[in-house]
Subunit: 415 residues, 2 copies
């Protein structure tokens, strides 16, 4: 079973907004064995939308459309769908009541005619009720293809996909089974990794594909298997996973292949009932932000001292001025002191500290751009690791965070 | 002049990676008056790539392709381009020398045959030298269309676009002028805004388009004008901007329409030589992260105390336990105390504090999910604002951050 995604909006084409909807939809569809054949982004332009709908309808079983359902004049998706299906708009009273209720509850402004228009839907459509906003989703079957129209606002779209669209696809379509298994590897580059597993890769069964997804300091290997027979597929994926692990098991992190390193770390901290703090300089609070963006972080994360200015390292974190003078603010000694002191200050079992120069210019220290030290404090020891991470600010920060999480992972795992 | 973007990679279709390349390319093209007609993402599959290339070549003048140039077996873009253009791969010695140099410099592993293959390029292509990585860009003119192939690794692609592709487009293509002007508005919803400016919008000249881009707590209004006559276009955009400002000037932020609020705030702090700290609870360090992700933040940002756990608010930030007991940890009083104390502790002119419940469950306080207090300390006063921000964790955090920056903006502006 094949799907296509069409995202509509001028803002996508001029790059003002990054299309995150497609990735979300792709992920959810893949979980239930629906492969996404193509993603197309087009402008708020009738001819372009019509042409994208027409092309997609020839290729796939279901077309998922987001965007262009707002109340303003540049939102033309609904009228364009009418033309495409030769249909008309009719008022849906349930949607109207919902729109009126939302206005009563959340707005101190009177409801306008343009808002009431949100309750108009295609006469042929099954309405997908959008409790998160005023624009309803629509499920339209036309010949052999299903079209689903959803608002482009990410959290409304996500609600509709999860609560309305996926359950309906499961009910109405026969699908093959798709299993993905991802392994996160650290410390070996993409091509060296490819050389190491080349023979195994060449002998993979045809219904299993391998992809390399390199990111900062790590390569994710993704096995994707497709079959109508679920149990034999599971068996094959399991067998190939074991073979892969026997080849490169020493550089694979975590058991749950799908998870990012921070998720693996979070699980371990929660399970082991340990606590964590961070003392961040050039990472500017991003480690704390990544950790607290996961629900449940309050079970193990106590907080952070972001000591961006050097003086904050001494006045708040209590790093001795002498230490900074002797070794410079970007040094192993300062990273160790920061980790130790934040661990003590926030009374945690573990701590991460970062000090370095992410660029673009040299800061308070004379360290080359890309020089970083990562300090780790555990219940039994404190140490720091030096890394030289290139010259691009964002990459220096992200690579350092990955390295910090990797170091922390190793420590909490053995604890 | 029209362009299309084709991004290649299974990881995009299954949603494992969000396509950020297209937005970057779209933005850069628009700056020089090239409109993006469509963005298409396809799998690492020969037939699909061929079909996408063929479709795009019929519609536009230039096709920008990213992805599938890595050294591993799933990277098939180069061979597919050969088939599409009926061309062969030839070794480029300059690229080979560069690949070998990169390996000598950054890798402790021997160079492999698959890495040397990176130096093979289409015989008809002009090579775009990629100093950031091993896969070169290629510029291929075929009949009336130019095709540009680039690696999918974002920082390599960005380098090639900025340093090679854009200058070459400027040299080789005639383009109309495009001017975008964006106004960030706060506090009025999309449809109420549309009603307020409806007459003006209806009377816009045909070559100027208006788009509404609602995000958390704000709506960006974007005027886009296209014309061959640059000076008359500038004049029209200027006139329409003035008309718009006369209608809704009171809710427009900043002078530089293109900038995010945090950029406007950063400029003001730098200009006025004032300093800033944050004390963050449920925002978990994200305000600090947003501020420090902009180069030059060290001129005004000193640091943050992320007091995620309640005890850190008392032990590190010095918020009196009595205050928390009396008013609860999610309260105006605690937000004010956090802002005051972090301002004093880090010796800054201004401070932001956040305390609230972002969900999904109630935390240390009994406050409803979505209840937040934002504290602001200035050189002359401290205050806190209450907000009720719905039930979705990520949105609660992001809305609160926008509100905090808005409050800070108003204070620093008048300072």
């Amino acid at each position: 079973m094949l799907a296509e995604i069409i995202t509509i909006g001028d803002e996508l084409l001029i790059g003002q907004v990054i299309d995150t909807n497609s990735a979300f939809i792709g992920k959810e569809l893949n979980k239930i064995g629906v492969a996404v054949y193509q993603i197309t982004s087009v402008q708020d332009n009738k001819q372009q939308i019509l042409s994208a709908l027409n092309d997609a309808s020839k290729r796939v079983d279901i077309v998922l459309i987001t965007g262009g359902l707002g109340p303003t004049k540049d939102d033309i998706t609904k009228h364009t769908l009418c033309e495409f299906f030769n249909d008309t708009l009719v008022q849906n009273n349930k949607v109207l009541a919902h729109v009126e209720e939302l206005f009563k509850k959340f707005s101190d402004k009177p409801i306008l005619d343009v808002n009431r228009q949100q309750a108009k839907v295609l006469s042929k459509a099954t309405v997908l009720h959008n409790i998160k906003g005023t624009a309803p989703g629509m499920w339209i079957k036309n010949k052999d293809t299903v079209f689903v129209s959803m608002p482009g606002v990410p959290f409304e779209m996500r609600y509709l996909i999860t609560e309305e669209v996926i359950p309906r696809i499961i009910k109405e379509f026969k699908r093959p089974h798709i299993i993905h298994k991802t392994f996160i590897t650290y410390g070996v580059g993409e091509s060296a990794l490819a050389a190491q597993i080349s023979d195994w890769e060449d002998n993979l069964p045809k219904f299993i594909k391998l992809a390399y997804l390199p990111s900062l300091g790590s390569v994710r290997l993704r096995l994707s298997g497709t079959s109508l027979n679920k149990s034999s597929l599971e068996k094959s994926i399991e067998e190939e996973s074991l073979k892969l692990k026997s080849l490169i098991g020493d550089i694979i992190y975590g058991d749950e292949g799908e998870d990012e390193l921070e998720v693996v770390v979070a699980k371990l901290f929660t399970e082991k009932r340990k606590t964590l703090a961070t003392a961040e300089s050039f990472t500017g609070g991003k480690i704390a932000e990544i950790i607290t963006s996961m629900p449940g972080a309050s079970a193990y994360f106590k907080g952070s001292v972001v000591s961006y200015a050097t003086e904050v390292k001494t006045t708040v974190l209590g790093v001795p001025e002498d230490l900074i003078k002797t070794y410079s603010v970007v040094s192993e000694q300062v990273a160790v002191a920061m980790a130790k002191n934040v661990q003590k200050m926030l009374k945690t079992d573990f701590a991460i500290a970062t000090t370095g120069n992410a660029g673009p210019t040299k800061g308070d220290s004379n360290a080359e751009v890309g020089t970083v030290y990562i300090g780790i404090a555990t219940p039994t020891k404190t140490f720091a690791v030096h890394q030289q991470l290139g010259g691009q600010r964002e990459r220096v920060v992200n690579k350092a965070i990955n390295k910090a999480l990797e170091l922390l992972y190793k420590e909490i795992l053995g604890c």
